[in-house]
Amino acid sequence: MSATTRNSLLLILAASFFSGLALHAMDLGQVPWALSRAAGLAAFAVISLSVVMGLLVSTKAADGFLKRPFVFEMHQFLSVLSLVLVAVHAGSLLFDGFLHFTSVSLVVPFVAPYRPFAVGLGVIAGWLAAITTASFWMRARIGQKRWRTLHYVTFLAYAGALWHGISAGTDTQLPPVYWMYIGSAALVSALMMLRIVGYKAAPKRRRAAVAADRRRPA
Protein backbone atom coordinates (compact mmCIF):
# COMPACT_ATOMS: atom_id res chain seq x y z
CA MET A 1 0.00 0.00 0.00
CA SER A 2 1.44 3.34 -1.01
CA ALA A 3 1.84 6.22 1.45
CA THR A 4 -0.80 8.31 -0.39
CA THR A 5 -3.38 5.49 -0.22
CA ARG A 6 -2.60 4.88 3.45
CA ASN A 7 -2.91 8.58 4.29
CA SER A 8 -6.17 8.86 2.32
CA LEU A 9 -7.62 5.85 4.15
CA LEU A 10 -6.59 7.27 7.52
CA LEU A 11 -8.13 10.63 6.59
CA ILE A 12 -11.41 8.96 5.50
CA LEU A 13 -11.51 6.92 8.73
CA ALA A 14 -10.88 10.00 10.88
CA ALA A 15 -13.47 12.06 8.94
CA SER A 16 -16.04 9.23 9.26
CA PHE A 17 -15.39 8.92 12.99
CA PHE A 18 -15.73 12.64 13.74
CA SER A 19 -18.71 13.18 11.43
CA GLY A 20 -20.29 10.12 13.07
CA LEU A 21 -19.81 11.67 16.49
CA ALA A 22 -21.24 14.98 15.29
CA LEU A 23 -24.27 13.28 13.70
CA HIS A 24 -24.84 11.21 16.81
CA ALA A 25 -25.15 14.39 18.87
CA MET A 26 -27.73 15.85 16.47
CA ASP A 27 -31.42 15.06 16.42
CA LEU A 28 -31.89 13.54 12.99
CA GLY A 29 -35.51 12.55 13.55
CA GLN A 30 -36.78 9.85 11.20
CA VAL A 31 -34.00 10.30 8.62
CA PRO A 32 -31.63 7.48 9.80
CA TRP A 33 -34.54 5.03 9.98
CA ALA A 34 -35.82 6.03 6.52
CA LEU A 35 -32.27 5.92 5.09
CA SER A 36 -31.72 2.46 6.55
CA ARG A 37 -34.91 1.15 4.96
CA ALA A 38 -34.12 2.72 1.58
CA ALA A 39 -30.52 1.44 1.68
CA GLY A 40 -31.66 -2.03 2.75
CA LEU A 41 -34.08 -2.32 -0.14
CA ALA A 42 -31.52 -0.91 -2.58
CA ALA A 43 -28.92 -3.36 -1.23
CA PHE A 44 -31.25 -6.30 -1.79
CA ALA A 45 -32.06 -5.13 -5.34
CA VAL A 46 -28.35 -4.72 -6.14
CA ILE A 47 -27.43 -8.09 -4.55
CA SER A 48 -30.17 -9.75 -6.62
CA LEU A 49 -28.91 -8.11 -9.78
CA SER A 50 -25.35 -9.14 -8.96
CA VAL A 51 -26.38 -12.78 -8.37
CA VAL A 52 -28.38 -12.73 -11.63
CA MET A 53 -25.34 -11.34 -13.51
CA GLY A 54 -23.12 -14.03 -11.97
CA LEU A 55 -25.57 -16.74 -13.02
CA LEU A 56 -25.78 -15.23 -16.51
CA VAL A 57 -21.99 -15.59 -16.77
CA SER A 58 -21.95 -19.21 -15.55
CA THR A 59 -25.01 -20.35 -17.52
CA LYS A 60 -24.02 -18.34 -20.61
CA ALA A 61 -27.72 -17.49 -20.87
CA ALA A 62 -27.07 -13.89 -21.95
CA ASP A 63 -24.40 -14.68 -24.54
CA GLY A 64 -26.76 -13.88 -27.41
CA PHE A 65 -27.35 -10.26 -26.40
CA LEU A 66 -24.72 -9.27 -23.81
CA LYS A 67 -20.96 -9.75 -23.94
CA ARG A 68 -19.71 -12.03 -21.17
CA PRO A 69 -16.80 -9.77 -20.05
CA PHE A 70 -19.27 -6.90 -19.67
CA VAL A 71 -21.67 -9.03 -17.60
CA PHE A 72 -18.77 -10.23 -15.42
CA GLU A 73 -17.53 -6.65 -14.93
CA MET A 74 -21.02 -5.54 -13.86
CA HIS A 75 -21.35 -8.60 -11.58
CA GLN A 76 -18.14 -7.58 -9.81
CA PHE A 77 -19.08 -3.89 -9.63
CA LEU A 78 -22.57 -4.63 -8.28
CA SER A 79 -21.08 -6.90 -5.60
CA VAL A 80 -18.95 -4.01 -4.33
CA LEU A 81 -21.87 -1.57 -4.61
CA SER A 82 -24.08 -3.91 -2.60
CA LEU A 83 -21.50 -3.94 0.22
CA VAL A 84 -21.49 -0.13 0.29
CA LEU A 85 -25.29 -0.16 0.52
CA VAL A 86 -25.22 -2.80 3.28
CA ALA A 87 -22.77 -0.56 5.19
CA VAL A 88 -25.17 2.42 4.82
CA HIS A 89 -28.16 0.20 5.75
CA ALA A 90 -26.48 -1.00 8.95
CA GLY A 91 -24.50 2.16 9.76
CA SER A 92 -27.51 4.47 9.65
CA LEU A 93 -29.19 2.37 12.38
CA LEU A 94 -26.49 3.59 14.78
CA PHE A 95 -28.03 7.06 14.53
CA ASP A 96 -31.61 5.90 15.04
CA GLY A 97 -32.87 7.03 18.40
CA PHE A 98 -35.57 4.36 18.57
CA LEU A 99 -34.06 0.91 18.05
CA HIS A 100 -30.75 1.47 19.92
CA PHE A 101 -28.47 -0.66 17.77
CA THR A 102 -24.82 -0.70 18.83
CA SER A 103 -21.79 -1.28 16.61
CA VAL A 104 -21.50 -4.77 18.18
CA SER A 105 -25.11 -5.72 17.42
CA LEU A 106 -24.59 -4.65 13.81
CA VAL A 107 -21.64 -7.00 13.20
CA VAL A 108 -22.33 -9.91 15.60
CA PRO A 109 -25.27 -12.13 14.59
CA PHE A 110 -28.29 -12.76 16.83
CA VAL A 111 -27.62 -10.04 19.44
CA ALA A 112 -29.72 -7.27 17.88
CA PRO A 113 -32.35 -5.53 20.01
CA TYR A 114 -34.96 -6.02 17.26
CA ARG A 115 -35.96 -9.43 15.81
CA PRO A 116 -32.58 -11.00 16.69
CA PHE A 117 -32.92 -14.08 14.49
CA ALA A 118 -34.02 -12.26 11.34
CA VAL A 119 -31.46 -9.47 11.85
CA GLY A 120 -28.80 -12.12 12.63
CA LEU A 121 -29.45 -13.75 9.26
CA GLY A 122 -28.90 -10.37 7.64
CA VAL A 123 -25.61 -9.93 9.52
CA ILE A 124 -24.41 -13.39 8.41
CA ALA A 125 -25.51 -12.66 4.82
CA GLY A 126 -23.54 -9.40 4.93
CA TRP A 127 -20.38 -11.15 6.13
CA LEU A 128 -20.73 -13.90 3.50
CA ALA A 129 -21.24 -11.28 0.79
CA ALA A 130 -18.13 -9.43 2.00
CA ILE A 131 -16.05 -12.64 1.92
CA THR A 132 -17.17 -13.62 -1.58
CA THR A 133 -16.66 -10.09 -2.89
CA ALA A 134 -13.17 -9.96 -1.38
CA SER A 135 -12.41 -13.27 -3.08
CA PHE A 136 -12.51 -11.53 -6.49
CA TRP A 137 -9.13 -10.04 -5.66
CA MET A 138 -7.76 -13.23 -4.07
CA ARG A 139 -8.56 -15.45 -7.03
CA ALA A 140 -4.94 -15.79 -8.19
CA ARG A 141 -3.73 -16.44 -4.66
CA ILE A 142 -6.30 -19.08 -3.62
CA GLY A 143 -6.66 -20.77 -7.01
CA GLN A 144 -9.59 -21.12 -9.39
CA LYS A 145 -11.05 -24.27 -7.78
CA ARG A 146 -11.11 -22.84 -4.25
CA TRP A 147 -12.43 -19.52 -5.56
CA ARG A 148 -15.28 -21.30 -7.34
CA THR A 149 -16.14 -23.31 -4.20
CA LEU A 150 -16.05 -20.14 -2.11
CA HIS A 151 -18.26 -18.42 -4.67
CA TYR A 152 -21.09 -20.90 -3.99
CA VAL A 153 -21.40 -19.19 -0.58
CA THR A 154 -23.08 -16.35 -2.51
CA PHE A 155 -26.26 -18.43 -2.70
CA LEU A 156 -26.33 -18.70 1.11
CA ALA A 157 -25.75 -14.94 1.34
CA TYR A 158 -28.60 -14.34 -1.11
CA ALA A 159 -30.96 -16.69 0.77
CA GLY A 160 -30.02 -15.03 4.08
CA ALA A 161 -30.61 -11.55 2.63
CA LEU A 162 -33.99 -12.62 1.23
CA TRP A 163 -35.10 -14.11 4.54
CA HIS A 164 -33.80 -11.07 6.43
CA GLY A 165 -35.64 -8.71 4.09
CA ILE A 166 -38.94 -10.57 4.32
CA SER A 167 -38.92 -11.25 8.05
CA ALA A 168 -37.08 -8.23 9.49
CA GLY A 169 -38.05 -5.65 6.86
CA THR A 170 -40.94 -3.40 7.76
CA ASP A 171 -41.91 -2.74 4.15
CA THR A 172 -42.54 -6.27 2.89
CA GLN A 173 -46.26 -5.50 2.67
CA LEU A 174 -45.70 -2.62 0.24
CA PRO A 175 -46.63 -3.98 -3.24
CA PRO A 176 -43.39 -2.88 -5.03
CA VAL A 177 -41.26 -4.43 -2.26
CA TYR A 178 -43.36 -7.61 -2.15
CA TRP A 179 -43.10 -8.07 -5.92
CA MET A 180 -39.39 -7.27 -5.87
CA TYR A 181 -38.82 -10.19 -3.46
CA ILE A 182 -40.99 -12.54 -5.53
CA GLY A 183 -39.47 -11.46 -8.86
CA SER A 184 -35.92 -11.71 -7.54
CA ALA A 185 -36.48 -15.17 -5.98
CA ALA A 186 -38.18 -16.45 -9.15
CA LEU A 187 -35.42 -15.16 -11.46
CA VAL A 188 -32.58 -16.46 -9.28
CA SER A 189 -34.31 -19.85 -8.84
CA ALA A 190 -34.91 -20.18 -12.60
CA LEU A 191 -31.27 -19.36 -13.41
CA MET A 192 -30.06 -21.73 -10.68
CA MET A 193 -32.13 -24.54 -12.21
CA LEU A 194 -30.66 -23.71 -15.61
CA ARG A 195 -27.21 -23.79 -14.04
CA ILE A 196 -27.81 -27.20 -12.38
CA VAL A 197 -29.31 -28.69 -15.56
CA GLY A 198 -26.47 -27.28 -17.65
CA TYR A 199 -23.90 -28.61 -15.17
CA LYS A 200 -25.37 -32.12 -15.36
CA ALA A 201 -25.75 -31.98 -19.14
CA ALA A 202 -22.17 -30.81 -19.78
CA PRO A 203 -20.39 -34.17 -19.15
CA LYS A 204 -23.04 -35.96 -21.26
CA ARG A 205 -22.44 -33.50 -24.11
CA ARG A 206 -18.67 -34.01 -23.78
CA ARG A 207 -19.08 -37.82 -23.81
CA ALA A 208 -21.36 -37.60 -26.87
CA ALA A 209 -18.83 -35.39 -28.68
CA VAL A 210 -15.97 -37.82 -27.88
CA ALA A 211 -18.08 -40.78 -29.08
CA ALA A 212 -18.95 -38.93 -32.29
CA ASP A 213 -15.24 -38.22 -32.85
CA ARG A 214 -14.42 -41.92 -32.42
CA ARG A 215 -17.11 -42.98 -34.88
CA ARG A 216 -15.85 -40.54 -37.49
CA PRO A 217 -13.56 -42.24 -40.06
CA ALA A 218 -9.95 -41.12 -39.86
Binding site: G29, W33, A42, L85, F98, P113, P116, T170
Partner: protein
Protein backbone atom coordinates in the same frame (compact mmCIF):
# COMPACT_ATOMS: atom_id res chain seq x y z
CA UNK B 1 -13.31 1.41 -25.79
CA UNK B 2 -14.53 -1.38 -23.52
CA UNK B 3 -13.16 0.44 -20.46
CA UNK B 4 -15.17 3.56 -21.34
CA UNK B 5 -18.30 1.45 -21.79
CA UNK B 6 -17.77 -0.23 -18.42
CA UNK B 7 -17.22 3.16 -16.75
CA UNK B 8 -20.44 4.53 -18.28
CA UNK B 9 -22.38 1.46 -17.11
CA UNK B 10 -20.93 1.76 -13.60
CA UNK B 11 -21.84 5.47 -13.41
CA UNK B 12 -25.35 4.71 -14.73
CA UNK B 13 -25.92 1.96 -12.16
CA UNK B 14 -24.50 4.15 -9.39
CA UNK B 15 -26.72 7.09 -10.38
CA UNK B 16 -29.86 4.93 -10.50
CA UNK B 17 -29.11 3.47 -7.07
CA UNK B 18 -28.29 6.91 -5.59
CA UNK B 19 -31.53 8.36 -7.01
CA UNK B 20 -33.48 5.41 -5.63
CA UNK B 21 -31.90 5.85 -2.21
CA UNK B 22 -32.65 9.58 -2.06
CA UNK B 23 -36.21 9.07 -3.31
CA UNK B 24 -36.75 6.14 -0.95
CA UNK B 25 -35.41 8.06 2.04
CA UNK B 26 -37.63 11.05 1.24
CA UNK B 27 -40.67 8.78 0.82
CA UNK B 28 -40.01 6.84 4.01
CA UNK B 29 -39.36 10.04 5.99
CA UNK B 30 -42.88 11.17 5.06
CA UNK B 31 -44.50 7.82 5.83
CA UNK B 32 -42.25 6.66 8.70
CA UNK B 33 -44.88 6.19 11.44
CA UNK B 34 -46.93 3.82 9.31
CA UNK B 35 -44.17 1.28 8.97
CA UNK B 36 -41.99 1.82 12.03
CA UNK B 37 -40.18 -1.22 13.45
CA UNK B 38 -42.55 -3.89 12.32
CA UNK B 39 -45.81 -2.08 12.87
CA UNK B 40 -48.39 -1.32 10.22
CA UNK B 41 -50.50 1.77 9.75
CA UNK B 42 -53.19 0.14 11.87
CA UNK B 43 -51.07 -0.35 14.97
CA UNK B 44 -48.49 2.42 14.64
CA UNK B 45 -49.98 4.30 17.57
CA UNK B 46 -50.14 1.31 19.88
CA UNK B 47 -47.35 -0.21 21.96
CA UNK B 48 -45.38 -2.88 20.12
CA UNK B 49 -43.72 -6.04 21.39
CA UNK B 50 -40.04 -6.74 20.82
CA UNK B 51 -38.40 -9.94 21.98
CA UNK B 52 -35.42 -9.18 24.19
CA UNK B 53 -32.36 -11.03 22.83
CA UNK B 54 -30.80 -12.04 26.13
CA UNK B 55 -33.76 -13.48 27.99
CA UNK B 56 -36.25 -14.13 25.23
CA UNK B 57 -38.90 -12.33 27.25
CA UNK B 58 -41.29 -9.83 25.77
CA UNK B 59 -40.86 -6.18 26.58
CA UNK B 60 -43.11 -3.36 25.57
CA UNK B 61 -41.68 -0.33 23.85
CA UNK B 62 -43.61 2.74 22.78
CA UNK B 63 -44.35 3.16 19.09
CA UNK B 64 -42.05 5.38 17.03
CA UNK B 65 -43.27 9.00 17.33
CA UNK B 66 -44.75 10.65 14.30
CA UNK B 67 -42.57 13.26 12.55
CA UNK B 68 -43.29 16.93 13.16
CA UNK B 69 -44.87 17.44 9.73
CA UNK B 70 -47.54 14.82 10.38
CA UNK B 71 -48.38 16.07 13.85
CA UNK B 72 -49.10 19.50 12.36
CA UNK B 73 -51.85 17.83 10.36
CA UNK B 74 -50.31 17.76 6.90
Amino acid sequence: MAAAKYRTARIAFGAIVAAGMIGGTAYFTQTAPAQSAGTTSQDSNSAQAITAPSTGSIRQVPARPAPAKRSRGS
